[in-house]
Subunit: 157 residues, 2 copies
């Protein structure tokens, strides 16, 4: 089952390596990980999406909570939360298909961030589903590059 | 100096821990890291922002290139690239300041993703500068939570 873990950590070198190491030692594959500063530059928040059974994940959570540089760890999978992901995607474009690509972009509420001679680069924000749909819809035109942030999530109050 | 590293990696457990470990062994602090799948589910792209001098970073790049699960590593700091970051931010709100918060949100092209009794949650996409500005503008109202993806970047052709 996919779990979304949200952790507040001290912004010190080694914390990321330590957390990633704990997951990989258990053989978990991390689907996505995003780490960035909070409004306090000394503190970062990590959002990790991982495929794991409940019991093993509970053990990893306990180990994480013991680490000195980790302030808090929450599994927000079963809580109401808002999840979003950002993707930059570069698609091949030509005179024939340009209009079609632009129409798909509009449906996806995508924003054009760069236009080249043979490509268009789009910025798309949405849930995991929307991002996956965008990739499927744009694949037939030829995807040159995809960069995704991985999911971030915030619990509703 | 801040460097932005973009790496294509095999989507296997341990790769992330290995990469994070290489940086932390050198004492580098990672400003942000985002890793997500590409259009090929076997391959992920990492975008890492790190504060480091050119020489040391060159050595780390060489070591990364030697790792078997790493397909390519590029320092795109000096190339033309589009960079974006996504932030979810929850701000305190009351009858008095509601209009003011909404006006700031509009200026930032923010999207409202949740409204609670005493808070509003916004989704903001932009360059590092824009994200930092958003935090500064919203701080006086009381920030309850910030979740950032970290920067992702794509080279212009």
């Amino acid at each position: 089952m996919k779990h979304t873990i949200s952790a507040l950590v001290e912004n010190k070198f080694g914390v990321l390596a330590h957390v990633a190491g704990l997951f990989s030692a258990r053989g978990f594959n991390i689907d996505s990980l995003a780490v960035g500063k909070t409004d306090d530059p000394e503190i970062s928040r990590m959002t990790i999406v991982v495929d794991a059974d409940d019991l093993t994940l509970e053990q990893v959570k306990k180990q994480l909570n013991k680490l000195i540089n980790i302030i808090s760890v929450h599994d927000i999978t079963k809580r109401n939360f808002i999840d979003r992901e950002l993707m930059l995607i570069k698609v091949s474009i030509n005179k024939k298909n340009r209009q079609q690509v632009l129409e798909i972009a509009e449906t996806l509420e995508a924003k054009t961030v760069h236009v080249g001679m043979k490509t268009i680069s789009l910025q798309i924000v949405g849930s995991l589903d929307k991002i996956e749909t965008a990739i499927k819809l744009l694949k037939p035109f030829g995807i040159k590059e995809v960069v995704r942030t991985g999911r971030i999530a915030m619990a509703e109050e």
